[in-house]
């Protein structure tokens, strides 16, 4: 049988999926054990024991200086920035994308600007943001907005223009005005696609968040990682990275489920 026709059963598929994780863990474990055997104070590859101790210290004990539970403070601060940034970007994407997608006059006017803006490397203008908006929350949120909004705008406009032309004619023969074409035809059909666009934008959004926090911040997941880097505290950095990854997975899956629940027609092949 050809390789392309060989499909794994349920159990095999699960085993095959888990295998790379197990291998990675084993390699890390072996390497860590060896280094710790050579030097019990080694910081580069901490063992499970050191990492759980670090997590316990960061998440479940008050910080001696500030009296805060640092990991939760960091998480809350980061998620707030991420949520604000991505939320504002999605809202902007919806408004600009719909206008660009439905109205040829607006498209002629705005589409070139959006395309140009989406080519600007966001990190290159981070200094400008710090200068203009200061070192506070606003500049970090703005970086996420500027980094993710133009691409989402283009995506939404693209999705709107992919709606069949027949629909656009049909709704006009039902007497719709331009506003109704947007609100009753384009908007409801683009919302599930916007959620998909947000899911894809979350990767870049995390990148911009951590970059901004690394440079100027007093709390946040990215700030903490870059802070403890000075002490080579891999026992904190590694759990933080895993924690960020977990958060990203959970957010992504929540959005996926919301999309399924809210738009049953979309996920059943109704588009």
């Amino acid at each position: 049988m050809r390789l392309i026709n060989r499909t794994p059963g349920r159990l095999t598929a699960t085993a095959l999926g888990v295998l790379p994780f197990v291998i990675l863990l084993l390699i890390y474990g072996a390497a860590s054990q060896q280094r710790l055997a050579d030097n019990p104070n080694d910081k580069l590859l901490p063992g499970l024991e050191q990492m759980t101790a670090a997590v316990d210290r960061m998440a479940f004990q008050e910080d001696r200086r500030s009296g805060d539970y640092l990991m939760w403070v960091d998480t809350l601060a980061s998620l707030e920035r991420l949520g604000m940034g991505v939320g504002v970007a999605a809202l902007m994407a919806l408004v600009v994308g719909l206008a660009n997608g439905v109205l040829p006059l607006v498209r002629a006017n705005l589409a070139p600007l959006v395309s140009a803006l989406s080519m600007v490397p966001p990190l290159a203008i981070l200094p400008i943001l710090f200068i203009v908006f200061g070192l506070g929350e606003l500049s970090k949120v703005m970086l996420i907005v500027i980094g993710t909004a133009p691409i989402m705008m283009r995506d939404v406009a693209q999705r709107v223009s992919e709606l069949p032309g027949e629909q656009l004619i049909k709704i006009q023969t039902l007497g719709a005005n331009s506003w109704q074409v947007v609100t009753r035809m384009a908007l409801p059909q683009v919302l599930p696609r916007l959620i998909d666009a947000v899911r894809l934008s979350l990767g870049p959004a995390w990148l911009f968040l951590i970059a901004a926090e690394a440079i100027a911040s007093t709390e946040g997941l990215g700030y903490r990682i870059f802070l403890v880097r000075r002490y080579l505290a891999m026992d904190v950095i590694l759990p933080y990275v895993i924690w960020i990854t977990l958060l990203a997975i959970v957010i992504d899956q929540c959005l996926r489920l919301a999309n399924r629940r809210l738009f049953p027609w979309y996920n059943a092949g109704g588009h």
Partner: protein, 261 residues
Amino acid sequence: MSFISVNKLWKEYGDQVVLENLNLEVEQGEFCTLVGASGCGKSTFLKMLLGQEVQTRGELLLEGDTFPAEPDRNRGIVFQRYSVFPHLTVRQNVLMGLELEQKPILGKLFGSARAEALEKVDDMLELVGLGPSANKWPHELSGGMQQRLAIAQSLIMRPRVLLLDEPFGALDPGIRKDMHELLLRLWREIGITIFMVTHDLHEGFYLGTRLLVFDKLRNDPHAPNAYGATITYDLPIGQTDEHLLRDIDQSVTNTARNQAA
């Protein structure tokens, strides 16, 4: 004055002449079927009736007035595909037109106004045989059911003209027959003026009151775009025979070959 009159109508795209010198008078309540080879302008003519295309020369009049240059609620359309809204249930699809008409800003009806409109919707769904599927999504319907829905969606607006662009082209032969019966029944009950484009000559011969054959009178094999098509046969249905059908079939097939060459 006729309901629809077409005077010396031409349609050109650059060098390409699609329609030349089209003349036609249609009375209210007629059911015209438009047949012809692909590229002979029958769909283009339908688009002009719809307001999606504008003629290059000549006149296209609805009760003596120029046709509006964009689609409006007086002219319903059913395409071969994609005529219904996938994000609305069957009922909501038909309700949409009434909502758009009554609520210019919100575009939605609530309370008793909605209940009243829904009664009309349910009557219409019953009429096209979609009563039991009222709460389904369009993707749960078969192709024929989707076309029934598209027809219901248009008819609830009581348009003056119903335009059908190869509405049954993608359906199985058996289903197509059911749809023919449905369409004839609706036309008799509502008395609406219908234009239907079809590829299928037999369908054109069977349905409606009038058959319009779009064909090219002149063919230049070296410049297939130089001459446009016009209406070569304008026949009342019922007075047609097999012999004529063969003649038309022959002519249309020849044109199609020339187009392809």
